[in-house]
């Protein structure tokens, strides 16, 4: 079975973002970009499925600007067999991403799409569910454990009340939560080998998808700052202030 892994290139999770003062968005000049952390986890899981003999091929795909090739090379170094870049402007909305991914699925015919639960820049948490809907497939979101058994996949999901386990018939779409696994690092020899692996470049038009953005972002601003707090010298002072200053105890 083929596994398709969609990856998004995002501002690295360690970066403290800066906003452009005119409210037009996040300043990404000279900012470190990386593979979305949840997508790394999804990719790791796909590679493990191949290593366990449950999958034959892992295909990484990303929709983004030309430079997105860098994270696709990282994906190849982590173990993906080949990669596809669909070139597009930055910040393509999830519905468009899902439509492009659905077109890739139609061409590649994977049995499983493994992706991240959430992109840490837009924090949308929708693309997986949208892709599953467009394909008419079952979805297993927020997975902390997956098992491929015969023609189905059993997914343990992290939900508000604890854990829920569901079974999906294949083909299906699954999104990775943090505790699914710990992704490996790309080693130097694998980074060298990855340079020779195939990376195809295509466009939404070639896939027959018209990108149309639906939301208009009017303004991006800083959240209101908190009032500075105070240091307390002891537990006694803390208790006293909570009682007499904050009035909460």
């Amino acid at each position: 079975m083929k596994v398709l892994v969609p990856l998004k290139r995002v501002v690295d999770f360690n970066v403290h973002i800066r906003l452009r003062p005119d409210g037009s968005g996040v300043d990404k000049t000279n900012v470190k970009m990386s593979m979305n952390p949840f997508d790394e986890i999804a990719l790791e899981e796909a590679v493990r499925l191949r290593e366990a003999g449950k999958a034959d091929e892992v295909i990484a795909v990303s929709i983004g600007i030309e430079k997105t090739q860098d994270i696709l090379r990282t994906a190849l170094a982590m173990g993906a067999d080949r990669a596809i870049l669909v070139t597009a402007e930055e910040d393509v909305e999830p519905l468009n991403v899902a439509k492009i991914l659905a077109a890739v699925v139609t061409e590649e015919k994977p049995q499983l799409v493994l992706m991240g639960k959430q992109a840490i820049d837009d924090d949308c948490n929708q693309t997986t569910q949208m892709l599953a809907a467009l394909l008419g497939w079952g979805q297993g979101t927020f997975a902390s454990k997956i098992e491929v058994v015969d023609n189905s996949v059993q997914v343990t999901r992290e939900v508000d009340a604890g854990l829920q386990t569901t079974r999906l018939s294949l083909p299906a779409v699954v999104s990775a939560d943090l505790r699914l696994n710990t992704p490996r690092y790309a080693t130097l020899p694998n980074i060298m080998k990855a340079k020779k692996k195939p990376l195809d470049i295509t466009t939404p038009e070639e896939l027959g998808v018209k990108v149309r953005q639906r939301l208009t972002i009017l303004e991006t601003v800083e959240p209101p700052p908190r009032q500075p707090g105070i240091r307390v010298a002891s537990v006694d002072e803390l208790v006293d202030r909570l009682k007499n200053q904050a009035g909460i105890l």
Partner: protein, 309 residues
Amino acid sequence: MIKVLLLAEHDNSVLNEATARAATAALAIGEVDVLVAGKNCASVAKSAAVLRDINKVLHADSETFAHHLAEPVADLLLELAGLYDAILAPATSNGKNVLPRVAALLDVMQISEIIEVIAPDTFVRPVYAGNALQKLRSDETKKVITVRTTAFEPVRSDASAPVEAISSNITNDKSSFVGEALADSGRADLTTAKTVVSGGRAFGSKEKFEELLFPLAEKLGAAIGASRAAVDADFAPNDCQVGQTGKVVAPDLYIAIGISGAIQHLAGMKDAKTIVAINSDEDAPIFEIADYALVADLFEAVPELTSKL
């Protein structure tokens, strides 16, 4: 009149407070019907009917909806969608699971986790783990929206709207329920608790986490939270995680103990009214947002605090 359908959050016996909070956002958009989909959930439909200013409650009771699986619940919402201009759900794990599926099938972009309704087509939502707020407009003819419940007060429960049973012949061959491992229901609910005490990696073990944090939580009537590091190390179960990808909480008092204050953690708690941080490192980033900062060894400070409350 703008017509809104709000998907209720519940466990088939109790209506979750998230619904009453999302109702506040829904009422700011238009006239609101609430959909209660589940199995043997008549008591939930009754609780939804007392939410103030609700127009009516739609009650869909079927084995197919028993476990809130996304595929059939999305199909149900889709069947009803024709009558509504907006479909809302609280941004709980169920709401987040179901609503984007509905949006894609309606061919509209979902607006995730709004924290403010400026106009029926204009909203504010956090991005980048809450480090930026986006004001955006949607020109979609149907709006599909999830609501960050901490940003809205619950509507009162003092009315009585009609409950209408609806039937459907939706089936589901895409997914099935296998089992669940639910959190200890005896403890205070993290998302609605007035006080939350949260522990981080510094506790070192599950034993210490429980030995020190539980008595403090008990004294305060508080819910237990945890950082990702504490959950990853198995000090606490996954449903305790607070943060960008865990739960978002906004209690009156949040006590962060042995937690460094990574932006992903702050994303889930920085809207608490009062924040106390206890950390041995005086440069810990958590202190930048704490109202009361105590530089101390938690192994001494926590028992002392518990004994002095």
